[in-house]
């Protein structure tokens, strides 16, 4: 059976006609339209019939069909806005306390919103200066080695770029950049460390980096040519012309072939100099690995497809290309993906190998922005609740005004508009204050972390100001929404009856619910801060398994450590010295491949190269064996290894008896080594990582060096200054980079301290906003109950009774909030946060209740002071009025 489906004209078009049409005309007009529609369905099909219906619906909008009120209402509203502003202004002035609470609360909370808006706008302005930005993509490598997903990398191989250039169609430009070009540039006596990329001429065709001098087409073509930014050129050459001059960078001599404008702040790639990629190709001529498919650690490839290119076709070509290359590889599979330029800074987190700073540039995962936005939203909402609560609570005072307006002829819509206008006025006033706060908080936010300084400026731009105003109006509308609905519903008859008959306490549940939500949020914030803070302190004080006290780690950069060691040995404050390749326990890692007897069973172990003084200086505990015996001077001669207990466990060496493991042979990075010592397990990585197998081998002069100096001194800063002056003698160019071990650990967890600072600040705001709201409510309730209190006092109630009577309701609300908030926070930490930290300390009851106590204390003072004042008032005075 085949039945014709029933077709209906689009409902929104019907509603449109119903809305604008005069009531007298609407019925037959819609009937006519419907008849035509049905006819059209049969003759030209339902889809076109609908289209015709929509067109007709608009065509019937004529002077004779349209209700007059549609034109008149907005006009009246515009006239009335002046009146609304006037009455709102009077109302604000009349209730100074309430207006103050509202404006201050909104201002404080909105300042957070302003900061966030500025932050997001700054992040979104990254890389927008590139003219072809929308068409630029970066290649992402997805690495799978030994059937194990290794994640997505921001880097790729040089070969990828070359293959794309040769084989993939539909692409206008490809450019390869190799990161980590750095060296000391030398012009005459002027030496300056310089950082940048190896790059190709096509870079200037893809990106918008304007050239000041030199030809962008050829500047990066020949080997040993360098393009400097204006700043770098000025630093090196002063006011002399730099173009065509020679620079010695480390051991090679380059020619300056171009001067370009400085890289804008909001660029995800930043550099001082670009060196032609052909230079790197020449210097690595003998290295087959240099341009191989799997050497994907230090290059990025950007592509710019031609206008109107078919992206699906390009993607499938990339997949085919990767597939072909993967055939030749045994254990490694690499897939290629495209990442749009605008999604690099705010977008998916990608891994990077040991890239130097500035390589992948600033990055912010969107989830963090969402979380911050959510938190800010909660705080702002809390301030909006204050407004809602206080306005509805004071409804009684304004009910007559509304009644009068309605009697004279104001419609619901107009009353609603009036209250929205009032709320928006308050929020605009709050915007002024919050903007001042924004100016105060801005430097604090930027200086909170060094990453921040590199990431954002938070300078005012016109779009930012516009966003601020839109934001403030939105906040006003949210705050005024409920009061507007409430007041528009008041019937004029009720308004003029005696006040008590108005059912204004009908909304009590709503107001109570708002207070409970406010306090729950506040408590969650504050307990999160305390728990987070205690956990953070625990992490800093965590026993890593070795000592870090009073140890200064000096990064030797490229200098040989011997000269400095000699000087340091002569300083009386320095009690011990050692050399190592990296600093452990702060997130640095150096890996190696270890095998035991079974040559097929290999495992990744973390390594460090240390000298004979390293273990005693850091107080590593040996469970068996001893320190290194041999003192090799080349990496090839290294034959001894000290391992931790995890290594023994992993390879089952010596059947769990460390003593038996001594003298056993293992293979580390393909070289046979003898175990000479077994260390107790310690934290090589950060505290959130599980302890894994670790092996120490002997430090040789071929390695980079970090000098650890144990210092015993009454005046640490002076000692460090003395060491710095010694450094200056050895290296005139590079700044002294040294830090105390404990400070380095603190830095390693700086994201935690940043997080705690942010949440702490927000919880401070939340608690002050909630307290202000509570204060307003208490003032209001006690004011309205003054007479009741007077009578009660006359009848014999004492102050204690009265305080109990007045504060009981609020205390009940607070306890409900505490009952919701504390278990919620506890569960959140227990199930979400702490499982990431296998070595965490348990959450203590005290931490949970400290926040509660603080909130309660503030609330008590607030409630207590007001109720005390009311309860102490003289009943004669209160009852005498009238």
């Amino acid at each position: 059976m085949k039945e014709q489906r029933q077709h209906h004209p689009p409902s929104w078009a019907q509603r449109l006609v119903e809305w604008y049409c005069k009531p007298g005309l609407v019925e037959d007009l819609m009937g006519d339209l419907y008849e035509c529609f049905e006819r059209n369905v049969r003759s030209i099909g339902p889809r076109r019939a609908k289209l015709v219906y929509i067109i007709d619906a608009f065509k019937f909008f004529r002077s004779y069909t349209v209700r007059r009120s549609i034109f008149v209402n907005p006009f009246i509203n515009r006239i009335m806005i002046g009146s609304y502003v006037k009455t709102s202004g009077r109302n604000i002035m009349r209730n100074k306390l309430f207006s103050f609470i509202n404006i201050l609360g909104l201002a404080v909370s909105m300042s957070v919103g302003l900061l966030l808006i500025a932050f997001v706008l700054d992040l979104r302005s990254y890389d927008r200066f590139h003219k072809n930005g929308e068409r630029i993509y970066r290649i992402t490598n997805i690495l799978t080695s030994n059937n194990e997903e290794n994640g997505k990398f921001a880097s790729t191989s040089i070969k990828t770029g070359k293959l794309i250039r040769e084989k993939v169609t539909g692409i206008e430009e490809v450019t390869i950049m190799r990161n980590d070009f750095s060296g000391d540039a030398k012009v005459g006596d002027n030496i300056l460390p310089i950082k940048g990329f190896w790059a190709e001429p096509s870079l200037f065709r893809i990106f918008t980096f304007p050239m000041v001098e030199g030809n962008p087409e050829t500047a990066l073509k020949d080997p040993y040519s360098v393009v400097l930014t204006e700043t770098a050129a000025r630093k090196l050459f002063g006011n002399q012309a730099a173009l065509g001059k020679a620079i010695r960078i480390d051991t090679l001599v380059y020619q300056v072939t171009g001067i370009m404008k400085d890289v804008p702040f909001f660029s995800h790639i930043s550099f001082e100099a670009l060196v032609s990629l052909s230079t790197a190709e020449q210097t690595n001529k003998g290295d087959k690995h240099f341009a191989s498919w799997t050497n994907m650690w230090s290059n990025s490839v950007y592509i710019m497809p031609s206008v109107n290119a078919n992206m699906t076709a390009i993607r499938s070509q990339l997949n085919a290309l990767a597939k072909e290359e993967n055939l030749a590889e045994e254990n490694t599979k690499i897939q290629l993906e495209l990442l749009p330029l605008y999604n690099i800074v705010v977008g998916e987190s990608l891994r990077q190998s040991e890239g130097g700073p500035g390589f992948t540039g600033p990055h912010m995962p969107p989830i963090v922005l969402w979380i911050l936005g959510g938190l800010a939203f909660i705080v702002i909402l809390s301030a909006c609740f204050n407004y809602t609560n206080l306005s509805i609570a004071r409804a009684m005072r304004r009910i007559k005004e509304i009644g009068l307006r309605k009697t004279i002829g104001a419609g619901k819509g107009q009353v609603r508009l009036q209250f929205l206008a009032e709320a928006v006025m308050i929020s605009l006033a709050a915007l002024l204050f919050s903007f001042l706060l924004f100016l105060v908080l801005r430097p604090m936010l930027i200086n909170m972390a060094p990453e921040m300084q590199r990431m954002v400026k938070l300078d005012l731009t016109p779009s930012m100001v516009a966003a601020f105003i839109v934001f403030s109006v939105t906040v006003g509308v949210i705050a005024g929404f409920l009061p507007a609905i409430f007041f528009s519903k008041i019937s004029p008859i009720n308004a003029f009856r005696s006040i008590s008959s108005v059912k204004m306490f009908k909304h009590l549940t709503l107001r109570r619910a708002l207070v409970v939500i406010q306090y729950t949020v506040t408590l969650i914030f504050i307990t999160t801060t305390t728990i987070g803070y205690v956990q953070y302190k625990n992490i800093l004080a965590f026993d890593l398994g070795f000592s870090t006290a009073n140890i200064l780690n000096i990064n030797m950069l490229n200098n040989k450590p011997d000269a400095l060691l000699k000087e340091l040995r002569e300083m009386p404050e320095v009690t011990a010295l050692s050399r190592s390749l990296i600093t452990t326990g702060v997130g640095n890692a150096w890996g190696g491949n270890m095998k035991y007897k079974d040559s097929r069973d290999s495992a990744l172990v973390m390594t460090n190269h240390v000298d004979e003084n390293y273990l005693p200086l850091h107080d590593y505990k040996l469970v068996a064996g001893g320190n290194f015996i041999a003192r090799p001077t080349t990496a090839l001669a290294v034959s001894e290894v000290i391992v931790n207990e995890q290594v023994l466990k992993r390879f089952n060496i010596g059947a769990n008896n460390p003593r038996k493991a001594i003298g056993e042979q293992i293979t580390l990075n393909g070289r046979k080594m003898t175990i000479v010592g077994v260390m107790q397990d310690f934290h090589y990585g950060k505290v959130e990582n599980l302890i894994g197998p670790v092996a120490f081998t002997f430090w040789t002069p071929e390695d980079r060096a970090i000098i650890s100096a144990k210092i015993q001194s009454a005046d640490m800063p002076a000692t460090v200054a003395r060491i710095e002056s010694v450094w200056k003698k050895i290296d005139r160019v590079h700044p002294f980079t040294a830090e105390f071990y404990d400070e380095e650990i603190k830095d390693a967890y700086s994201e935690f301290s940043t997080m705690i600072k942010i949440i702490g600040f927000l919880s401070f705001l939340a608690i002050s906003i909630a307290s202000m709201g509570l204060f307003g409510m208490v003032v209001f309730t006690t004011e309205t109950r003054l007479k009741e209190i007077g009578i009660r006092k006359v009848m014999g109630a004492n102050v204690g009774n009265l305080i109990y009577l007045l504060s009981r309701g609020f205390l009940f609300l607070l306890s409900v909030s505490a009952l919701i908030a504390l278990p919620a926070t506890y569960l959140f930490f227990k199930t979400v946060v702490l499982p990431h930290f296998p070595y965490h300390a348990p959450v203590q009851i005290t931490e949970l209740f400290v926040g509660l106590l603080a909130v309660l204390l503030v609330a008590f003072i607030m409630i207590g002071a007001q109720t005390w004042k009311a309860a102490r008032s003289n009943p004669v005075k209160v009852l005498k009025i009238e």
Binding site: E27, D28, L29, M30, G31, D32, Y34, E35, K59, R62
Partner: protein, 110 residues
């Protein structure tokens, strides 16, 4: 108002209302006009004209019975008023007079 003078299209609509008798509602008028004049007549135009005629008092209207066919909406039926009839008659007689003034000889030469 422009007085009681009828425009060309107004006259056609008015005539159709008269011709359709009790079945004169907007869609029917629209159809009838399209059939007889051979030009495509838009419903919106007819609607507007009917409205104007009613304002001038040449037609009167009332809502009919609800039917299922129009989504449950009633039709508005139009009827000529006395004024409407007079307007049509006077328009016709005016034309007839003018016709009569053309000498037949002159007419043939053209």
């Amino acid at each position: 108002m422009k007085g009681t003078n009828l425009g060309e299209f107004e006259e056609l609509v008015l005539l159709t209302v008269a011709a359709l008798m009790s079945e004169a509602y907007s869609v029917a008028i629209c159809d009838e006009l399209s059939n007889h004049t051979g030009r495509s007549v838009k419903l919106g135009v007819v609607h507007a004209v009917l409205n104007r005629l009613e304002e001038k008092g040449l037609v009167k209207s009332e809502l009919g019975e609800a039917t299922k066919a129009r989504g449950g909406k009633r039709k508005r039926f139009y009827q000529l008023t006395m004024q409407g009839k007079t307007a049509l008659v006077s328009a016709k007689s005016m034309r007839d007079e003018l016709w009569a003034r053309i000498p037949s000889l002159a007419w043939k030469k053209m």
